[in-house]
Each structure stands twice: as structure tokens, then as C-alpha cells.
């Protein structure tokens, strides 16, 4: 094999790699742009106006006390999320986490629609690594006493 043929082949390979990498970079740029999910508080979401409609968003805040309504049969779940000043109504299908009590921090992933309802596809309770002692009478040991003592449903 002559030297010039070898160089030509090397150059061709180099160009091929460059084209491939260029195409890949373009895909990457577009891919990341269209898959960014912004993390917003209710206030930030409402401030965005129409630009926040129908784009995937992660909404973070606290559950408004007394706003949780769950139908165990249809699994229809509604609650309101607040950042202290503004509130957003959230609707989702599924089961609320067991300790999904009012006031707990949550992150819901989904889209905000024109009717002013946030449709959540994913719901996460904000875990805290710090130790929070349960309120008196609310420790699982006491709350589920009847189940532990076997007086719950038995076959």
C-alpha cells in the first residue's frame, strides 16, 4: 500500500468521523433542549403565564392542609400545592403515599393546562434525612394499633 493511499484513507476516515460527530452534536443539542424539565414553585409557575402551559414542569411546594381529596375506587386524587403565597390545584390518578399528610413537601411532575389545573403524572414526597419524631398519637405503632393487634380484617 502506498503512502498517498494511506493518507487519503486516513483523511476520508477523519472526515467521516467529523461528520458523524457533528450530526451527533446537533442531535444532542436538540435533544437536551426539548427534554429540559424546569423546577418551579407555584408562584413561579403562575408568573410564567401562557409560556408555562402544556410543557413538562416539576412543581415543588407544600400540600395545603385540608385540600387532599382521594377516591380509593377511581384512584382520582386532588390536592393543592402552595409556596406560602400562591396555590396551584393538582390532579392526578394514583395512590397518595401513605404519609401524604397536609403540609408535607412534595414535587409533582406534569403539565399545567388552560383550565388552571396541574395534571401530575408523577408524584414524589420530599424525603428529609433529618429525624422528625412523629406527633403524639400519630406514630405508626399507635395509629395502626388495630392492625398490629390482629383485630383488623382476617380471612
Amino acid at each position: 500500500m502506498t503512502g498517498s493511499r494511506r493518507t487519503r484513507r486516513g483523511a476520508a476516515l477523519g472526515i467521516a468521523v467529523a461528520v458523524l460527530l457533528g450530526a451527533f452534536g446537533y442531535l444532542l443539542y436538540g435533544g437536551i433542549g426539548s427534554n429540559l424539565v424546569y423546577f418551579l414553585t407555584p408562584g413561579e409557575l403562575l408568573a410564567k403565564g401562557t409560556s408555562a402551559l402544556d410543557v413538562p414542569v416539576r412543581l415543588g411546594g407544600q400540600i395545603v392542609p385540608g385540600s387532599v381529596a382521594w377516591n380509593a375506587q377511581t384512584l382520582d386524587l386532588r390536592f393543592r400545592v402552595t409556596d406560602g403565597t400562591k396555590e396551584v390545584a393538582v390532579r392526578s390518578t394514583g395512590t397518595p403515599p401513605q404519609m401524604f399528610r397536609p403540609g408535607i413537601g412534595v414535587i409533582v411532575e406534569g403539565k399545567y393546562d388552560r383550565t388552571g389545573v396541574f395534571h401530575a403524572t408523577n408524584l414524589m414526597v420530599r424525603h428529609s434525612n433529618e429525624y422528625h419524631p412523629p406527633e403524639p398519637g400519630h406514630s405508626p405503632k399507635e395509629a395502626y394499633k388495630s392492625l398490629i393487634n390482629g383485630s383488623g380484617a382476617t380471612p
Binding site: L36, G94, T154
Partner: protein
């Protein structure tokens, strides 16, 4: 007492390691065996001291010595013994200590194995390993000191994160991961040693680096599989991979290490890719440090959490030093490392390795970008964003199916040049299998392009790799009259590297098929049932029998008795539960899984009435999930076969070693007795 012993052992080890580095470098420069041996003694002694410190911590944990800050942070009298011991790696400080223990352990092991090697490259390699150890020791005596004295001594602690004490896999996953990570620093040290000593041009370093990389790769692969399994068994969402930054952190070095394991074969055989391999080994090491940084600095929850602690800056500085110093070294030696061979034919084993390397690098870059983008966006623009899973799937799935295809073509391609006619004869059966599977999958109603391609290419690659075993064994059976079960093991024993590799491929393909099937054909149903009621999901009947509560050590469990029925017969009893640990205000879901070769029935208890009159369960039926775990096991087994030392080294016939049609025929190859360095 524990505080004093633990901390002073670390401080002495730090001083000794710094002295050890100086002695080793001086010994290499002055060509003094006495200095060299003194340096090696410093490695052993430092390892001993770090071991003392680590054992002190374990003793402190087991004896509930809450005067030690780390024990006060993660210990609890109500935690069972196993989880008390493994809380050594439940939080930052302890895991850095365990990490340092492994760094020095592997450095001592490497010295033991390589101390008699000629030349000076290993002395520099040992010094490099000590330098890495010094970094972790600086963390331990500074920002990540686990041995602060707590006054007054608390009587009890909160215990480790409940998520980590809910499943025994947490006893397995972190040590495997750390062994993988730390193990990958050894080949890096070899590369640095080879460059600093100026011995890099003789390519000897890659032989030692290869074995250490395989060993580390086995641990890293096992760790990734164990992590997926843990996620599946514990987190309760029925999946095993979420492109979470923590998962990505372990996946990226795995990708580059995989690329390295393949491209060094090109260097060994053809003297090509010599600079590329040095870069790969450096990048792999940096990615392991980056992984540690991402998972341990708190940067993932928020950039601001990171700036509150100082440990993140230490890591950033370390990464910067390693990157600049080693890439400068590589650049300095690059002119000496002109490639010896050339690419003779675009259709050859070399090309397959080149393309594979390119694909793996592209994938690493994609994952890196998706992982770091949110951090950069928050730091630069002040917005909190996350890069969704769809990005990773969209970008990596094409690469993954291409890699699957390559897995099928690669073994069929010979080195240097390919005879086209022989190649097509060799690929005839696999291609037929591929087309059949593609048609069958489409006929079954799959419309997802990547699922179809994954099954078709998976079947194709599986056939080619199995065909390698079959043709090899058949040649032995014909040539020597051996039976199948004699011929197969002997075939593998004759060429560990080759057949270990094919075995690992087979496992990887099985896992890929499992992943494709379980994500493409997943059926999910969430429903509230009263005891006695049942739901049918993908042909399986799942019946709620009872709701119960139990007081256990350190936790309260509320669970459901669930029966899985198939054809009117009970095939499994499951007990999905929610566990309420005393130290946490949120319950830990504890799903239950009934596995079989064809499908998993996965039941998670989502909610329950306090009087037990009803429970909400989520049922998932996912096909072929077991294949992922089994495939992962086969991957590790194959790599282990490749790692196993070959007692005899076979002289390879020069140049046209074997063409497509002749099978690696052990009969043609004359064994030459060469003692292989361990």
C-alpha cells in the same frame, strides 16, 4: 479512646504515605533497590494503619460508642447487627474511610503482585496509588473526619437512612461499587507509572493494566446489576433504571472501562490506538472520582448544598489536578507513541473495535452531558432544571442497538483482512435468525422501532457468539474425537480471553433482551381491593387475602397477604408491605415479587385502610426481568474467565493467524511455556 486511635492512625498513615511517595520517587530516580523496598514497606504500613482506623470505626459502631461523631450520626441501638456494621458506608464520612481502606488495600495488593517487575514504572505506579490514598486521607483528617469527639455523649442515635437498611442488597452494592471504582485507579496508576518512568513505549503496562481493569470491571458490573436489583426490589416503582445521576455516575466509568478493555486488544495485536488507550484510562479514573464527587458532595440535591460543605471543593481540585497532570503527560508522550500497525481493511476486527469504542465514547459523552447539564444550568443561569429520562432514552437507544449489532458482527470478523465470501457464509445463520425474530416480534404487535431492533440484533448477536462456541467445539470433537462436554470446557480453557469475552457478550445480550422485553411489554394496574377480591393483570390473577400489622425490631410493618393465581391455581404468596422506621416520617415501600423465567409479577402495597377493610395495590407484570439479573451474572462470569490466568501462553501464528473459516484451532497452535506475570 476510639476517637484517639482512629484519628491518630489516619494522621500517621497520611504522614507515612507522603514520605512513601518521596522515597519511591527517589528510589526510582537513583535506581536504589533499598529505597524502593522502603517505599513498598511504607505502602504496607499505611495500609495497616488505615485498617486499624477502619476496624476501630466498626468496633465503635458495633459497641454503640456514641462519643464518636460518625456513630452518633448513623448508629442506633435498635438497628440490627448486620445493618449496624454496614452503616460504615451509610453516610459520607464512613464511606470515605472505607474508600481509603480499599485504596490502600489494593495498593498493598498491587505491590505484592508487581514488586519484582523489572524497570521503574511500577515504583511510580505505587507512588501514584499512594498519592490517591493521600487525597482520601486529607479528606479524612480534614472535612470528612468521622472521629470527632461528641460531648456530651448521646445515649442513642437516629440509625442509618431507613432506605439503606430495608434490604440486604445494601450490604453488597456499595462495597462492590467501591471495589470497582478503586480498582480502576490501579490501571490509571500503571499508565502514569509507565509514562513518568519513560517506559510507556514498550507497551508492557497494558498487560498489567488489562488484568486489573478486568478485575475492577467485574466488581463495577456486579455493582451496577446489584444497584438495579436493589432499585427494583426496594423503591417500589417496578423499574430498575431511571437515568438518575447516581446511576449515571457508576455507568460512565463502566462504559469507558469497557471501551478500554476492547481497545487494548487492538494495541496488543496491532500496536494501534496507543495514545487513545492512555486517554481512556485517564478518563475512566477521572469519571470514577467524578462519580464519587457527584454522589458524595451533596451537589445533586442543589448546587447550594454543595457550596455549604467544603468537601466538594477538595474533589473539584483533585479532579482538576488529575486531569491536567495526566493529560499533559499523555500529550508529552504522544509523539513517541506513533502507531505501529495500520488499518488494512475497513472490514476487519480492528474496525469493529474502533466503531465500538466510538459508540461507547459517544454514549459516555451523552450521559455526562445529561448528568452535568442541570448543575451547570443552576450554577450559571440560576434556574433549576432536570434533564428528563426521555433525553437519555432518545440519545442512547440508537447507540445501544448499534452496539448490539456490532456484538454480532465483531466476532465474525478476523483481524487485518476479511474474506467477503467467508464472512457472508459465517453470518448466514445469524442473519436468518435475526430476520425471523424481527418478523415474529412485529407480528406479535410490537411497533416500537427500538424494541424490534433490540430483539432482532440481540438474536443476531446471540447466534454469532454461540456459533463461536459451537464451531470451536465441533472442530475439537472432529479433530480429537472429544464429546461436547469435554470439548467445550477445553476450548474455553485453551483461550480464556477469547471465550471469556464471548461468554460476557452472551450475558450482556441476555440482559439487553430482558431490558427490552420488560420495558416494552410491561402491564401495570393500580386498584383498591377488599380482602377476598382479585384483579387480573396480563393473564395473572392477583388476590388480596388479608391486611396485617406487625411490630418488628426498630420498625412497624403494615402488609398485605396477596396470592398470585395462574389457571385457577395459586402459584405464589406475596407479602408486600410498608415499613415505618422509627427514625423517619415517611414509610419505606417494600414490594414483593414473584419471579419466573418468563415473567415477574410485582406487587406493591400503595395504601391501606387503618381498619384493614381495604388496600390499594399496584400490580406490574413484566416479562423476562430475571434475564437481566442472570445476564448480569453471566457477564461477570465471562469476565472472570477472561481474568483467570492462563498457565500457558499460546504463541499466536503470525499475521494471518486465523481466517474466517478456520476456527481457532487449538491443534494448530503450539503452546509455549511462558510464566505469565500475575
Amino acid at each position: 479512646m476510639n476517637v484517639l486511635v482512629g484519628l491518630s492512625a489516619l494522621q500517621i498513615a497520611l504522614g507515612l504515605s507522603v514520605v512513601g511517595i518521596i522515597i519511591l520517587v527517589a528510589g526510582a530516580r537513583r535506581n536504589s533497590p533499598r529505597l524502593r523496598d522502603a517505599g513498598y514497606a511504607a505502602v504496607y504500613t499505611s495500609f495497616g494503619l488505615v485498617t486499624v482506623s477502619t476496624l476501630t470505626m466498626v468496633v465503635a459502631l458495633v459497641t454503640h460508642d456514641f462519643s464518636v461523631s460518625y456513630v452518633a450520626q448513623v448508629g442506633s441501638r435498635s438497628t440490627p447487627l448486620l445493618f449496624t456494621i454496614i452503616s460504615l458506608w451509610a453516610a459520607l464520612e464512613g464511606s470515605i474511610l472505607f474508600w481509603a481502606f480499599l485504596v490502600f488495600g489494593l495498593a498493598a495488593l498491587a505491590v505484592r503482585a508487581h514488586r519484582r517487575e523489572p524497570g521503574h514504572s511500577f515504583e511510580y505506579a505505587a507512588a501514584t496509588m499512594l498519592a490517591i490514598g493521600v487525597f482520601f486521607l486529607i479528606l479524612l483528617v480534614g472535612p470528612a473526619n468521622p472521629f470527632h469527639l461528641v460531648v456530651p455523649t448521646p445515649s442513642d442515635g437516629p440509625g442509618p437512612n431507613p432506605l439503606l437498611q430495608n434490604h440486604p442488597l445494601m450490604a453488597v452494592h456499595p462495597p462492590l461499587l467501591y471495589l470497582g471504582y478503586v480498582g480502576l485507579s490501579v490501571p490509571f496508576a500503571f499508565a502514569v507509572g509507565a509514562m513518568v518512568s519513560g517506559e510507556v513505549a514498550d507497551d508492557r503496562w497494558i498487560r498489567s493494566a488489562r488484568r486489573w481493569t478486568i478485575a475492577a470491571w467485574i466488581f463495577l458490573s456486579a455493582a451496577i446489576i446489584a444497584g438495579m436489583w436493589w432499585s427494583y426490589e426496594v423503591l417500589g416503582w417496578g423499574g430498575y433504571w431511571a437515568w438518575d445521576p447516581v446511576e449515571n455516575a457508576s455507568f460512565m466509568p463502566w462504559l469507558t472501562a469497557t471501551a478500554f478493555l476492547h481497545s487494548i486488544m487492538v494495541q496488543e495485536r496491532r500496536g494501534m490506538l496507543r495514545v487513545w488507550n492512555l486517554n481512556l484510562v485517564v478518563v475512566t479514573f477521572v469519571l470514577t472520582v467524578l462519580g464519587t464527587f457527584l454522589t458524595r458532595s451533596g451537589i445533586l440535591s442543589s448546587v447550594h448544598a454543595f457550596t455549604q460543605g467544603t468537601i466538594g471543593y477538595y474533589f473539584l481540585a483533585f479532579i482538576a489536578i488529575v486531569l491536567v497532570a495526566s493529560l499533559a503527560l499523555v500529550a508529552g508522550y504522544a509523539p513517541e507513541l506513533r502507531q505501529r500497525g495500520t488499518l488494512d481493511d475497513p472490514l476487519s476486527r480492528e474496525t469493529a473495535f474502533l466503531v465500538g469504542n466510538l459508540l461507547l465514547s459517544v454514549m459516555t459523552f451523552t450521559v455526562l452531558l445529561g448528568t452535568l447539564f442541570p448543575l451547570v444550568a443552576e450554577a450559571v443561569r440560576g434556574v433549576k432544571v432536570s434533564v428528563g429520562g426521555p433525553f437519555f432514552n432518545q440519545m442512547t437507544l440508537p447507540v445501544i442497538v448499534m452496539l448490539l449489532f456490532l456484538l454480532g458482527v465483531g466476532p465474525a470478523l478476523p483481524w487485518r483482512r476479511t474474506d467477503r465470501a467467508k464472512l457472508s457464509r459465517r453470518l448466514l445463520v445469524p442473519a436468518a435468525v435475526m430476520v425471523t425474530v424481527a418478523i415474529a416480534v412485529v407480528a406479535m404487535g410490537t411497533r416500537d422501532v427500538y424494541a424490534v431492533l433490540a430483539f432482532a440484533f440481540g438474536a443476531f448477536a446471540l447466534t454469532t457468539n454461540l456459533q463461536e462456541f459451537w464451531t470451536g467445539a465441533r472442530a475439537r470433537m472432529r479433530g480429537r474425537g472429544e464429546r461436547v462436554f469435554t470439548a467445550l470446557p477445553r476450548l474455553v480453557r485453551g483461550n480464556h480471553h477469547r471465550y471469556g469475552g464471548y461468554l460476557a457478550h452472551t450475558g450482556l445480550i441476555a440482559a439487553a433482551i430482558g431490558i427490552a422485553a420488560s420495558s416494552a411489554f410491561k402491564t401495570e394496574r393500580e386498584i383498591t381491593l377488599k380482602p377476598g377480591e382479585a384483579v387480573t393483570v396480563a393473564g395473572r390473577v392477583v388476590r388480596l387475602d388479608d391486611v396485617w400489622g406487625r411490630q418488628e425490631q426498630g420498625r412497624t410493618s403494615i402488609g398485605a397477604d396477596v396470592s398470585v393465581l395462574s389457571g385457577g391455581r395459586v402459584v405464589a404468596h406475596l407479602e408486600p408491605a410498608q415499613r415505618f422506621y422509627e427514625s423517619s416520617d415517611t414509610p419505606i415501600p417494600t414490594p414483593a415479587v414473584h419471579s419466573s423465567a418468563a415473567r415477574d409479577v410485582y406487587v406493591n402495597l400503595m395504601a391501606f385502610k387503618e381498619d384493614g377493610s381495604s388496600a390499594t395495590i399496584r400490580v406490574l407484570v413484566e416479562p423476562l426481568v430475571v434475564w437481566i439479573w442472570l445476564g448480569g451474572g453471566i457477564v461477570c462470569l465471562g469476565a472472570f474467565v477472561g481474568f483467570w490466568p492462563q498457565r500457558k501462553r499460546y504463541a499466536r501464528a503470525p499475521a494471518v493467524a486465523h481466517t474466517t473459516s478456520t476456527v481457532p484451532n487449538a491443534g494448530e497452535i503450539r503452546p509455549v511455556q511462558v510464566e505469565v506475570l500475575s
